[in-house]
Symmetry: C2
Subunit: 205 residues, 2 copies
DNA sequence: ATATTTGTACCGTCTAGTCTGTATAATTAA
DNA sequence: TTAATTATACAGACTAGACGGTACAAATAT
């Protein structure tokens, strides 16, 4: 054996992610990553065969983290599973609490970075991103279906798009937040989603 | 004098915009632009001193167009200026009508493209984008202030962030729409904003 | 001792940008 | 009226450096 390479690999992933969120993928050169990590080509190309390989690894790790936070939020609200509206509101609140405490705008979402340069990536990466976005849709939609067992909607609307609103706010919020330099902008948008749900659903008589 | 150069300049702007929305700015090379436009370096660097010069010209034109569509929508709803809630709903409807008719996902917004590679651009470009986003905020906020003269809000919330929701939906909607390949996704999100406003504002007694 | 991990020199290609030359068309002047 | 002039608009070869990627030696830890 030899010394452990995992810290090196992790450092590359971490720094390249930060750089891509600032400069985009094409705007982030391998040399730039090596400069930030104080490594050399040998180390980089030992852990990643190509730059595209790094992209794939980055997205896969990002997706894993994304889905695990979603599952954690679902778990953290399980105690409210027979108060489905309260559960969804608390589900959103978890993310508000994180985003409202930021001192600088959220660095952004890799999905957005990649979709903004989507032609540079192969179909597999794009499929994985879309699949994850639809997983959010599906899971939130289930929470909403539970609500409908006890509530009516003031305005009829498909739950599909209503569930998407959550992700739309994240992606759009991050962009605006970075542009106008207001760290809590996304949290405020999520509050509006809470408001909307609160007055959209009314208890069945 | 010589023959008119404006068609050439316009073609460069048009094609480079399309390419940037697909590949990002750094991912779009000048050679690539020349290939698409069937032009040569001579033509390009006659019209734009540097690549960054092109970026500046692109954003400025994009901003002009963006602000003019906003002003057009404001004008098209002026007849409802003493029914301020109806006016705002119609204002939104104008954009829904456009987005609901798309046969392919909207190509995207240059603001998002640039913000996703924001480190590559000078402060001036970023300031211009932020300023435009805040112009949307301000104008929509005025429409909302007019509403408050006749209506109360079911849930108290600053109009600032409520106005931002419009732009947030656009930016986030475009991203999701491209990823999951659903052209009318953004229009559906705007419908939810209409719903929200409709039940958030109630006539004063 | 040996497999794993990293450093360094190097290669071909692509990149933004320069340079010189040329075609076009309006202007000038005889 | 027309030939010479001039500013505009574009073509295409060229360059220096950055880019992703390779080859292989050196170092590290068991």
């Amino acid at each position: 054996m030899a010394r452990d390479g995992k810290p090196t690999r992790d450092k590359i992933l971490q720094e390249s992610k930060a750089l891509i969120l600032q400069n985009g993928y094409a705007g982030t050169s391998i040399d730039h990553i090596l400069e930030k990590t104080a490594l050399t080509k040998g180390a980089f190309f030992y852990h990643f065969k190509t730059k595209n390989d790094l992209a794939k690894a980055l997205i896969e790790e990002f997706i894993r983290l994304d889905l695990s936070t979603m599952e954690a939020a679902l778990k953290n609200t399980q105690d409210l599973k027979d108060k489905p509206l309260d559960r969804l509101l608390k589900f959103i609140q978890i993310f508000i609490d994180v985003l409202a405490g930021l001192k600088a705008p959220h660095p952004g979402c890799l999905y957005a970075s990649f979709i903004n340069e989507s032609n540079l990536f192969d179909e597999e990466i794009k499929k994985d991103i879309a699949k994850t976005i639809l997983t959010w849709r599906d899971n939130i939609e289930i929470l909403m279906q539970n609500i409908l067992e006890q509530y009516d909607m003031v305005i009829e609307e498909d739950l599909n798009s209503l569930a998407d609103t959550f992700t739309v706010i994240f992606e759009g919020g991050f962009i605006l937040s970075k542009s106008v330099n207001e760290p809590d902008l996304t949290a405020k948008q999520l509050r509006h989603l809470q408001n909307y749900l609160q007055i959209l659903f009314v208890p069945k008589k």
